[in-house]
Symmetry: C2
Subunit: 320 residues, 2 copies
């Protein structure tokens, strides 16, 4: 993607100029008491507690400059972290972002990352801002976000609360991010949008392919659904990142139960990176908007489909 | 340093085994409500606010495996972040740590990093714990910490509060970390302790050299001094990381004043990475234990020594 090349570079501009280009592009949290610029920031914790999570994106294993623009990187970094906050039933409030980049990276690429962070916050979690961070040098582009949330008086929704008899439900269009990955592998690109040479597809496929690329490169988890699930009494929840069956296995293991999938899970058991929410609800609860039932919590361990045990091999970044 | 080589490696052991080796070594925060293991952690904020900062250490620009052990890396990562929290006048309460490492890194090196994090927390900020993080793959060892603190009802001590007539004071033995760096450049090592071949030095020099290496590789900022300064009414404060004169220039710029140094600053104006605290106090205040006066706040801008302006060129990681 072109936006990774150009001048001036960070090395030519220097740290202060680079920071001066980034900081005005970052949104302020509605809970900001003291923003970037001092040794540390100060954020309000109206609930008296705060939720904290951290997720990284490293060039190579986690993203490729050929596939993702700087904007895409900033967007996805925010989105995956905000989804982890929401998966606890908390409202995302702030991010801190550490970037480590090569000296020959253009300042414009840092601006693109900042724009992606800002627009993801505005689109997914209005009121959430970037309250600080760090800029360092590294041979590979490395982006680490730490995200914060407010529980608004609710208990956190953990992985360990699923009970036998609960309904298993998900949000979102599962499998789209995986399809987007496959398009990228075949040579499709998001911006400018192009499908692989020789891909003889109609308009409907083009439109769907673009949505699938967006699901992979700029995921838009429905954070409000996760918060609604917490309000509705969800017994357990996580955001689906490594695969539906694998992540379900985590709830099963933490809760000491089995997750048994029905027809709704067929074909999407391996779906990864959708950052949809996998949730269990007590029987009889009216599912909040956006949730579809895909199974039930039963006695046993692990994950099954119509009662047949599934093997859920873990995705391991160090062995992939 | 030997501790960076060996087996099993992270790639051989896999992520789950690596995490299982790290997690039990990490200390719990006394404010932990929900620790690592879910999508996010939950930390108490007794003050209703929390202080947040983030600092990174990347192999190459920020540390060398030949000079620093994994333990040193973990210790320094914690220390520099905790110092930033304390420089706001806050008590450090928790860390979140994102590591990105090559597949061929030994699991024992991750354990060393965890041990350094734990022992730094125990030594410098008892009650502070590691409440989560991330483990990713990268060709270079990259460690990012985000640190949290509690203001205990006090106002944060900013850089912008210095007023004309204030006393300028510092804690700590300035210049020791810089001397440690020079020893390392000349071939000295901390563990096992050795001085450069041909360095014909007496016992007193050996003892001092070891302390200087410790100041560089395992800094021990006196966080209690910073909190005492806040209680005593410090008008501004920061932790000295990039150099005494340079960091003083930051207080001067933020406060719209000049910092004029006296004899106490001679010879240590360039001292960097000591993570001592540079603080201004109202005239007439009894300086808390550990603080020595080194100058005064006067009308003007920038930094001076006995009234003679100093040029403070910024240290820039991208131009170093």
């Amino acid at each position: 993607v072109d936006a990774w090349t150009g001048s001036p570079t960070v090395g030519e501009a220097g740290e202060l100029t680079a920071l001066a280009a980034i900081l005005p592009r970052l949104p302020a949290s509605s809970l900001r008491l003291l923003g970037p610029g001092d040794d540390a920031a100060v954020i309000a914790a109206p609930d008296g507690r705060y939720v904290v999570t951290s997720d990284s994106m490293v060039e190579g294993p986690d993203f490729l400059r050929a596939w993702s623009s700087p904007y895409d990187l900033g967007w996805k970094l925010a989105a995956v972290n905000l989804a982890d906050v929401a998966a606890m039933g908390a409202r995302p409030t702030a991010l801190v972002v550490a970037l480590a980049v090569p000296r020959d990276l253009p300042v414009a690429a840092l601006e693109g990352i900042a724009d992606g962070l800002r627009e993801a916050c505005e689109a997914l979690a209005p009121g959430c801002g970037v309250e600080g961070g760090d800029l360092a040098e590294s041979p590979v582009v490395t982006a680490v976000a730490t995200a914060f949330g407010d529980l608004e008086g609710r208990d956190p929704v953990r992985r360990s609360g699923a009970r036998i008899g609960d309904i298993v439900a998900t949000t979102g269009a599962l499998g789209w991010a995986t399809q987007g990955w496959r398009w990228l592998e075949r040579g499709a690109r998001l911006e400018p949008f192009s499908l692989p040479e020789g891909a003889d597809v109609g308009e409907a496929t083009r439109v769907r392919a673009r949505s699938q690329l967006l699901a992979q490169l700029r995921p838009s988890p429905k954070l409000g659904h996760a918060i609604a699930a917490a309000v509705a009494g969800a017994t357990s929840m996580l955001d689906i990142s490594d695969g539906l069956a694998l992540d379900a296995g985590r709830i099963a293991a933490a809760s000491g139960v089995r997750i048994d999938f029905g027809d709704g899970a067929v074909g999407v058991l391996d779906a990864a990176e959708d950052h949809a929410f996998l949730t269990t609800f007590p029987p009889g609860v009216t599912l909040p908007d956006g949730f579809s039932p895909i199974g039930s919590v039963v006695e046993g361990s692990g994950v099954s489909l119509h009662g047949e045990p599934l093997e859920t091999l873990g995705w391991d970044p160090f062995r992939a």
